[in-house]
């Protein structure tokens, strides 16, 4: 046992970490260059910024502050929980992360990466990080803008709510949840796209799984992104009908535990993806 440990230590000491770091950055840079500002990413920007546009229009056509700030806080909570987490980030990540590997298989350009002197784990990690950067850039700014627009509407009162009231804490929570959602969904869609030619049906099943998750046994609840995120929401909303499923009260989970839950789940899924990546074969004709 001790010998094994010694061997592992020696192996670890021999690895070219500097090279890996340089290569990782090169992969991320390449991926970012090719995908972030590409036309085919346009629909994802669209997905991210629809609520921003709607909120923006609302402030323009309805400057009379017909609704109160308390109500708008609820509206924002609704947009975030029902739109961003369940739809916007979900499908945005599906688009961004399933093109990382599968997209390059469809375009028949993945082999250029596999023929480079880079470990496949580094390639995969670099691609994943690039995907995260794209997703975070889009959705963090969209969520931030939605939040800002809603409260900017109320002038000084809005400013007081954000600066002196609970506003800033809520913004932080939204931004944090958005980041976790991008990581969690991203890793899962990356793996699904490596397992299936067309990951969309699997993603729909996953969506269903996420939806019914709150009423499943607590062990199964651990394998879900949204069920962790629920415990982090800064504003709870009363929901009715089927939507009540989204807010079923289960055993409370502490914020740090929920955060760790998403991170661990992401790490596990990325780990499995690395393993798949090592076994990956280039067979464009039949894929």
């Amino acid at each position: 046992m001790r010998e094994r440990l010694e061997e592992a230590k020696k192996w670890a000491a021999r690895q070219p970490y500097r090279l890996w770091w340089v290569q990782l950055r090169a992969v991320v840079r390449l991926e970012a260059k090719r995908n972030v500002l590409a036309w085919r990413s346009l629909w994802i920007y669209f997905l991210g910024f629809i609520p921003v546009v709607i909120i923006g229009l609302h402030t323009i056509v309805d400057p009379a502050k017909a609704s109160g700030m308390g109500e708008d806080t609820m509206v924002l909570a609704g947009i975030f929980q029902l739109y961003y987490i369940r739809l916007g980030i979900f499908f945005g990540c599906l688009g961004i992360f399933s093109r990382l590997i599968r997209g390059e298989m469809v375009e028949r350009s993945l082999h250029y990466y596999l023929l480079a002197p880079v470990r496949r784990e580094i390639l995969l990690l670099g691609k994943f990080i690039a995907g995260c950067i794209t997703a975070l850039m889009i959705f963090e700014s969209a969520v931030f803008l939605s939040f800002t627009l809603i409260y900017a509407h109320y002038g000084a009162a809005g400013q007081a709510f954000v600066m002196d009231g609970p506003g800033l804490g809520q913004l932080e929570a939204y931004m944090g949840i958005t980041a976790l959602a991008c990581l969690g969904y991203g890793s899962i869609f990356m793996l699904l796209s490596m397992l299936f030619k067309n990951p969309t049906p699997a993603a729909m099943i996953f969506m269903g799984w996420e939806f019914i998750n709150p009423i499943l046994p607590s062990l199964l609840q651990k394998i879900s992104i949204a069920s962790y995120l629920r415990h982090l929401m800064p504003v709870s909303m009363p929901m009715h009908g089927v939507l009540a499923l989204l807010t079923v009260v289960t055993e409370p989970v502490r914020p740090w535990a929920a955060t760790m839950g998403v991170l661990v789940l992401t790490a596990v899924v990325v780990g499995i993806s690395c393993y798949r990546m090592r076994k990956l074969e280039i067979r464009y004709t039949t894929e």
Binding site: H111, Y112, V118
Partner: protein
């Protein structure tokens, strides 16, 4: 230091479909040409060599390395595949340069190597344009440039002459020859033997997933020459034909067809066989309807060989 490319009893099945079967090769440096008809397993063999697909059985090593250690392996190996596709939106220059940045080398060195390899393939000004607007030959060239940019010791080229005009073809062949002379391994695949036989140090003849002959051009001709080939002759008196054929010493076997309307002849010398068949036909005793190769693979190979020097001699 091991300087060979070694295939040790390698087989690859795509599900039920045979890619290559029981290939054992040990290739020294120089130019090796893989020659065979469509679907004979050339690309499969090259993909196996570079780890794009994994062998179902057997093992492969290149200069003592395997693809398990990707970093070391792909510094030494360059592969220009048969896939005529590129990352979206790249220019020729970016395509070569981006690949080099993955090696972990600096900007200056990468720029230098990119320039050098683009000069080698004679792409000129076009390098600054988007690859999407290239002609087939230009795409072939830029892919070649990408494969040689990091100065590999082993260069694998899948049908590198496809789509090139005669000028470019001659230039490419000269480049391969030069690289081979420098002691590199250059592995080239082609459908057409005469296209590559002049520059090849070694030929590996493939058909149906098998290596059927290996060696220099003369050895390969000899080897195929000695392989008996089967021909089906449809005629009105198969028994008589069979007995006439049996009298010849190049005829290994003559077997009647089940329906009694033809005979399978297995021969070591097709030229001699056809000459004799013509004689028999001219005598008029046996009326010959159809002569067809019953052994497609072997015949395809035979076609390559007679295509290249006008006959087995």
């Amino acid at each position: 230091m091991n300087d060979r490319i070694i295939f040790d009893d390698v087989s690859k099945f795509y599900g039920e479909v045979l890619g290559v079967n029981r290939v054992s090769l040990s290739l020294p440096p120089g130019i090796t040409s893989l020659v065979g008809p469509n679907g004979s397993g050339k690309t499969t063999l090259m993909n196996l060599l570079t780890g794009l697909v994994q062998p179902t059985r057997g093992s492969i090593s290149v200069l003592g390395m395997t693809t398990m250690d990707a970093t070391e392996f792909f510094r030494a190996v360059g592969y220009c595949t048969q896939f005529d596709s590129f990352p979206k939106g790249v220019t020729g220059w970016d395509f070569v340069f981006d690949g080099l940045t993955l090696h972990g080398i600096g900007y200056e060195e990468a720029t230098q190597l990119t320039k050098e390899s683009l000069e080698r393939v004679n792409l000129g000004e076009a390098a600054m344009r988007k690859v999407a607007g290239y002609s087939k030959g230009m795409r072939q060239k830029i892919r070649l440039a990408q494969a040689i940019a990091h100065r590999p010791r082993v260069l694998v080229l899948d049908e590198p002459l496809n789509g090139l005009d005669p000028m470019a073809r001659a230039e490419s062949l000269a480049l391969f020859e030069e690289l081979g002379r420098q002691g590199m391994h250059v592995l080239i695949s082609s459908h057409i033997l005469e296209e590559v036989d002049r520059i090849s140090d070694r030929i590996v003849l493939m058909t149906g997933g098998y290596v059927v002959a290996e060696g220099n051009i003369h050895e390969v001709r000899q080897e195929v020459h000695e392989k008996p080939m089967q021909v089906l002759v449809r005629c009105d008196k198969p028994e008589m034909l069979a007995s006439k054929m049996f009298a010849m010493n190049h005829c290994v076997e003559a077997k009647l067809h089940k329906d009694g309307g033809g005979v399978f002849v297995r021969t070591r010398d097709l030229d001699e066989f056809y000459r004799l068949l013509n004689e028999i036909a001219a005598e008029g005793e046996v009326k010959i309807d159809v002569v067809a190769p019953a052994d497609d693979d072997a015949n395809a190979i035979y076609q390559y060989l007679i295509g290249s020097d006008g006959g087995l001699s």
